[in-house]
């Protein structure tokens, strides 16, 4: 991974140095090794903080909405999954493709610090990935962990290792194949009875503290004025004051991103309460696939989307019984 980071830094320096781009969006060192944060670098000097490691799970594409409006071209590092969100933003005219230079980067699956802690390792100072295992160094020594066990939820069910948009590429090693297992958990939910499912979601959503992190991170939630921030919408609220309110927020948001959510998994990743929000969106994705044909948001930056277009083969509402097409 170090070699990838080096190469990225080299390219960032070259692009900024030559003035080809006015800024580079990437990650910079956080307080600890395991919390790098998204950052915009505007000069070669600023790049001294640059980092790319196993903890760079954050999807950078949403930053382009603001950053790419600025003077000059913006370069951005996109992992395969981030490139879907990128396309979706182009499709919805939220960003202008021509103003952006996409550097497609290698991703071996990103790590979840909470899962590492759960394995009994704390105060991580560095990780070294080696195929299926990860050597984790901490203040207390070295441990080798199974990579499977410490991947972010979104990476354990990675949907694709193909970049859907790129102007150049930094891929130095082969990337693991995706497992096509992302609907397994949805199927488990579907197998529940209605009462069980309701209880499941009630339990999960009860935990929500309405920090809005899920919405704020979501590339599909890019509205200039979100309904939840707009007193005139009649549904804006800063806190969940009732059980109904808890669900309302999530159900409305799920509907708003339906057909647009790329399944980037960021909502679940950032949720401080560990609510598996991605399951809600994946259920929508699975239903859309079933009713209107396979569709992956963000695969392209053009073309029709299933929920805002009509084709003759579309299922009529009365063809749908218990969530399944007749």
């Amino acid at each position: 991974m170090k070699d990838v980071e080096m190469k990225m830094l080299e390219r960032a320096k070259a692009l900024l140095g030559s003035g080809e781009v006015a800024r580079v969006i990437g990650w910079k060192k956080g307080e600890f090794y395991f919390d790098p944060v998204p950052a915009s670098f505007e000069s070669v000097e600023e790049l001294s903080d640059f980092v790319y490691n196993g903890f760079c799970g954050a999807n950078l594409s949403k930053y382009l909405i603001q950053m790419s409006k600025k003077e000059g071209k913006t370069a951005i590092f996109l992992k395969p999954c981030d490139s879907y969100s990128f396309n979706q933003l182009v499709k919805e005219h939220r960003i202008v493709r021509e103003n952006i230079h996409v550097i497609a980067i290698e991703c071996q699956g990103k790590l979840d610090i909470e899962k590492i802690k759960a394995q009994g390792v704390s105060a991580v100072t560095e990780v070294e990935e080696d195929g299926d295992t990860v050597k984790v160094s901490s203040l207390y020594g070295e441990t080798t962990l199974n990579k499977e066990d410490i991947l972010l939820v979104k990476c354990a069910t990675c949907k694709s290792k193909t970049h859907q948009a790129k102007d150049e590429e930094i891929v130095l090693h082969e990337m693991p194949e995706s497992k096509n297992n992302r609907f397994d958990e949805v199927e488990k939910l579907e197998a529940m009875t209605e009462t069980e499912r309701f209880a499941f979601w009630k339990l999960q959503l009860q935990k929500c503290i309405r920090c809005n992190a899920c919405r704020n991170v979501c590339p599909a939630c890019s509205c200039i004025k979100c309904v939840f921030d707009n007193p005139a919408s009649g549904i804006a609220a800063k806190a969940n004051d009732s059980e109904f309110e808890e669900k309302l927020f999530h159900i409305i948001r799920a509907f708003h991103v339906a057909g647009r959510c790329t399944d980037c998994g960021e909502c679940s990743r950032v949720c401080p309460q560990n609510i598996p929000l991605h399951l809600l969106n994946r259920k929508f994705i699975k239903d859309i696939d079933g009713l209107y044909g396979e569709y992956q948001a963000g695969e392209t930056a053009e073309g029709k989307t299933p929920l805002t277009s009509y084709t003759e083969g579309d299922k009529e509402p009365n063809d749908v019984v218990d969530g399944e097409a007749k």
Binding site: K69, E92, R94, C223, I224, K225, V227, S233, T308, E312
Partner: protein
């Protein structure tokens, strides 16, 4: 301060028998904002309207709620009354306490309670109404007829005779529709071609009619008075302007084994062909699935022989976009597929045929030159059994629940014609009921029985099977209460009819509604039978429901009258209840434009002030009010709620919901 007036209608006993109208009116008097409340026997009557007008003036009303029938009945009436009294017509709300209340409830107490809620709901909405003004839009003085069967032909001729341009878009290579396939027509038994083809020729020669054959509707945008339609002219590989219809190509084409669809597949035809002798336009068409040149690149014989160089293997589909003021849908019908009716042995026995196939077998221009010969061996059938209601009036789920309406008459026709021409033939007809109302219709059927000795057997057929080359028709005779088996040479199935399947796409493009059987729905079953609920779209012929030629022609002429009535107008009032985006909130994401069926939404780049002297250019939605139909699709698509609808704003709808939920 708002001053709302409430008017509760009895609708004779329609409402008053189930809803305590006096009580409702009384309760409304104490609703906040209501300054006047009354009830009356017929609000829509002259006197009722007078009452409304007077109240508006006397009490200085700022908005009114009429608790009455569906707004589809009388919203326009009450809006006009309000306008006459000086109130903006869009300050009127209707509470539907008839269809939504009195008609569907029995208990007076409950119905009254519900009526109160419905009226309160309308009051909540009217309080948020704002005066609106209708604009005007010009009328394009040209009509489109979709489907060139007898319905489309008649409608086009009538509209064109009134002096308006008409285009007929026909998906087949010729106009004429099903009627062109028929032999003789009931009830007068005149030859179908003899009465149809002169009308086809009239269409071709009419200076106001443009026939776009072998064409389909690709896209429809716009609205009444201003439809913009994209038509796909399918590649026929023959230049229409050059082909003289000499048919030399048909003679020379080596690929002669294509099923002749005009003859219901009873014989074959060359890859290049003219569907039938009197086809309009009389221009050949190449079936690309069958043409050797188009499939393999070799051949090209027709091109060599064509004297005028009309053959063009390179021809591509072309698209034409035209504007129309009105659209007539006349897409007709097809017989149902018989695959769910194995008991009649249609798939297994060549001599089990449909009535439409029989029409071709009896037609002088058909595969047997009008001599009735059975398909299997070309012999004269001596015993013929007809089975009626194959798939009609069938509630089992295999067929159609409705009566196809024409089968009793055409079966009597077939039976009679056969007995007339071949008196030595025995003819049996299995029927459930014989339904032949209509002028000279029952007489026609009786002639078949009494004069021509056709054996009508009341009962259903259980099975048709082949035994030593004979078709055994096993059924019950309900009158004699016995099982019968008739040894037959030919079995004719009166297959149910269904709307031509492509009507679904047309209906969707036109936002016209269709019923569960795929028939287009009329605006009002009794009072607006030729109008679709979509303004400017009219319905003629079988696409709207089963009917015979006289009815089809009447409906087509009625459509024409409606179309002419529209096209003579220079301007139409537009609906002011249109969508408007809040630019400050619009993301420019294009989702609303994607769902707008009318193409009303475009995008503009607009400069916004950000404060501190900074500005930002953003892409925002812009609605063309002349094109927007107020359907609301965009408002529910917009995630941030930037798009809203005048007259039906989210606020208004939420206030209604709240009024309903409030105890």
């Amino acid at each position: 301060m708002q001053r709302i007036g409430v008017f509760i209608c009895w609708c004779g006993s329609n409402i008053a028998a189930t809803v305590d109208v006096e009580r409702v009116a009384e309760i409304m008097k104490s609703e906040p904002g209501v300054v006047y409340s009354a009830n009356y026997q017929y609000m829509c009557s002259e006197n009722g309207q007078q009452l409304i007008k007077q109240a508006i003036k006397e009490h200085n009303l700022t908005g009114i709620v009429v608790g009455a029938c569906s707004p589809r009945m009388h919203e326009a009436t009450f809006r006009k009354a309000a306008e006459a009294a000086g109130l903006n017509p869009y300050m009127v709300e209707i509470a539907n306490i008839r269809e939504h209340c009195s008609w569907i409830h029995k208990d007076m107490e409950e119905a009254t309670e519900k009526a109160v809620v419905l009226v309160r709901t309308a009051i909540a909405k009217v309080k948020l109404n704002a005066p609106l003004t209708a604009g005007e839009s010009p009328v394009v003085k040209r009509a489109l007829v979709i489907g060139g069967g007898i319905a489309g032909i008649q409608a086009a001729l009538d509209i064109a005779d009134a002096g308006f341009e008409v285009d007929i878009v026909e998906k087949n290579a010729t106009i004429g529709g099903r009627m062109a396939q028929l032999d003789k027509t009931f009830p007068t038994l005149d030859c179908s071609a003899c009465i149809l083809t002169p009308k086809m020729v009239d269409c071709a020669q009419h200076e106001k009619i443009d026939i776009l054959s072998y064409s389909e509707i690709e896209d429809v945008k716009g609205f009444v008075g201003n439809f913009s339609v994209t038509i796909r002219k399918k590649a026929r590989y023959v230049d229409e302007t050059k082909c003289t219809g000499c048919k030399i190509c048909m003679e020379k084409c080596p690929s002669k084994k294509g099923l002749n669809t005009f003859n219901m597949g009873l014989n074959t035809r060359p890859a290049i062909h003219i569907p039938f002798a009197q086809a309009i336009p009389n221009v050949a068409v190449i079936d690309p699935e069958q043409c050797i040149k188009l499939k393999t690149g070799k051949c090209g014989i027709c091109q060599k022989f064509c004297g005028v160089g009309a053959i063009d293997y390179e021809q591509k589909d072309t698209f034409i976009e035209r504007q129309y003021g009105a659209i007539v849908v006349a897409t007709g019908f097809k017989p149902i597929s018989l695959e769910s009716f194995n008991e009649y042995g249609y798939d297994d026995n060549k001599d089990v045929i449909t009535s439409l196939e029989l029409e071709r077998l009896m037609n002088a221009a058909g595969p047997t030159n009008g001599v009735l010969l059975r398909p299997s061996d070309g012999e004269h059938p001596k015993v013929i059994t007809f089975i009626q209601c194959v798939g009609s009036r069938d509630t089992s789920g295999c067929g159609k629940p409705y009566c196809s309406k024409v089968c009793c008459m055409y079966t009597a026709k077939h039976a009679m014609l056969i007995r007339e021409k071949y008196p030595d033939t025995e003819v049996h007809v299995f029927y459930i009921d014989v339904r032949t109302p209509g002028k000279n219709y029952d007489e026609f059927f009786r002639r078949a029985v009494e004069q021509y000795g056709v054996d009508y057997i009341k009962g259903m057929v259980g099975k048709v099977y082949n035994e030593n080359g004979k078709l055994m028709v096993q059924g019950s005779n309900l009158i004699d209460n016995e099982q019968v088996t008739i040894e037959s040479d030919l079995v004719v199935l009166a297959a149910a009819i269904e709307p031509e399947p492509s009507v679904r796409k047309i209906a969707t493009l036109l936002t016209a509604s269709i019923d569960t059987n795929n028939f287009l729905t009329e605006s009002h079953a009794k009072l607006r039978p030729v109008e679709s609920p979509t303004a400017g779209v009219y319905l003629a012929g079988m696409c709207q429901g089963p009917k015979d030629i006289p009815e089809t022609v009447s409906q087509a002429s009625a459509c024409a009258a409606k179309v002419i009535g529209l096209l003579v107008k220079d301007k139409l009032k537009t609906n002011p209840c249109v969508a408007t985006p809040d630019e400050m909130m619009c993301n420019g994401c294009s989702q609303c434009a994607n769902v707008c069926a009318y193409g009303a939404i475009t995008y503009i780049d607009k400069e916004f002030r950000l404060g501190g002297g900074k500005t930002e250019v953003r892409r925002v939605a812009s609605v063309n009010p002349a094109v927007c139909q107020g359907c609301g699709a965009c408002t529910v698509t917009c995630p941030s709620g930037a798009m809203d609808l005048k007259g039906f704003s989210s606020k208004q709808i939420m206030s209604e919901v709240e009024a309903i939920c409030k105890k």
